[in-house]
Subunit: 309 residues, 2 copies
Amino acid sequence: MADRGDDGRRIVLDWGTSSFRAMLVDGDGRVLERVDTGDGIATVADRDFAAVLRRALEPWGDRARGLPILAAGMIGSRNGWVEAPYVALPAGARELAAAVRREEVPELGTIRFIPGCTDTAVEPFPDVMRGEETQLLGFGLERDMAVVLPGTHSKWVRVGGERIRRFRTFATGELFALLSQHAFIARGAEAPAEPDEAAFRRGVEVALAGEGGLLARLFTVRAGWLSGGLRAAEMGDYLSGLVIGAEFREARDMGWFAPGEAVGVIGGAALARRYALVAEMMGLRPEPGPEDAALRGCLRVAAEMEGMA
Amino acid sequence: MADRGDDGRRIVLDWGTSSFRAMLVDGDGRVLERVDTGDGIATVADRDFAAVLRRALEPWGDRARGLPILAAGMIGSRNGWVEAPYVALPAGARELAAAVRREEVPELGTIRFIPGCTDTAVEPFPDVMRGEETQLLGFGLERDMAVVLPGTHSKWVRVGGERIRRFRTFATGELFALLSQHAFIARGAEAPAEPDEAAFRRGVEVALAGEGGLLARLFTVRAGWLSGGLRAAEMGDYLSGLVIGAEFREARDMGWFAPGEAVGVIGGAALARRYALVAEMMGLRPEPGPEDAALRGCLRVAAEMEGMA
């Protein structure tokens, strides 16, 4: 069988712009070994991805040698190792498996790169995701529902009938990082001893109240500091509430969800918690995704490839 | 008379965060001398504003000595020389003149600091302006209309009956600067040989079309580049159109103007032209302010002070 080791073991890579993860997985999907490093594709010198991968797998010795390798994330992008072109929606495990790109690599064998997805219906330019599609597969695509994947470039997605149906990217995380690090309006902000949920909620409430949008709300960080209404240690979490609240508001106005609906939330613990909190504030029923959503998704694609073999 | 030289000459300062301007003005408001430097209040060492001002006025010698000095802008803020507390709206020349703060300075005489304004009706924190109030006075406050002052922190203002009635700050310019300098979504952008009005208009059209807001629109810069729909030299002006278009959209939704209305536009030539263009695209009638709006406003305050003397 071409797609897995004799006993079903394989190596799964979740290799993004700023992080690298390799997992040695058995035939039942259990993780036997795991390594996380900061060797994201943006850090790899001379595009020598093979060297990075060999070094990462070396400690596993013979246990890893000759196993099939499946890779998801930005490693399969134009800036990565091998470009696996985007698959058009609607797409599920079958469409992704059919578009997997294979590459023979000396000493490492065959690596299979899972493609990203494109939503060509988005105006004025097709939207793209890469990495989130495997997380969505791991979350499950059976029910017709909205799923949000918070991050530097958050995704709002409609899934259902075992397919990703449409999605849209929001630049929320990138904007928050720029504003909290560089903006005059956030000058004077101090890091709180621990995340300030009350300040975060306050920001969300301001984002959701009244008319208008984010541009008019952002200056309230400065105005709050000037007027004494916001303490220095509250400014960062209040700003976080403003931008995440604005994302939900935009998503609602664009029809991504309706009140009372369930919404999947897939992401790191701290950020997923904030998104779930806003979902509740908007009358939604947040459903957290599994922690290992990306791995589950990769194994779904692998199973599909085996079915096609 | 305390507020002007015997022949009506005076010195007017327009002293902001990043720029310094001094004008020697005659009794008819004509500018006899003028100096512009980068000595904004953020650059002044040890808060020695007097040294900066003495140095700037030195070349004018006896012509400047002993003249009354009127100062507008951030120099009158908490981070400036002397804090002239914000005046609550509604406010016009009379209210500003009554709240001017005087300071005796060795070798320079009396300096009068024009206060900024605060709109305490803005939720959740009072909004503030400092410097724009004199530009608005110079534009004229007779007619009931909307006025926009583009900039790092744009202001939308309703004026009428010789008063500034209410306003709101939009962080548009600051956001654009951060995004174009630092954002991943704008990576690959190249400066065009000259401003690309078509790309700007395209960004405005995208900002105004459909539902949702800025967060969902921002990623179209990246998506346009990836799909070949935007050239590298178009990305910056397209992004400019997205954010300025978003500002107008928010301002409309918040009721700052209605279709067909006149809207004043006060600002530097290049930016004012862009704002006027968007105003026209939204069916408004843009009315440019006079180039010397700030000076005219200062002289209005001076005239009011004389009337009260």
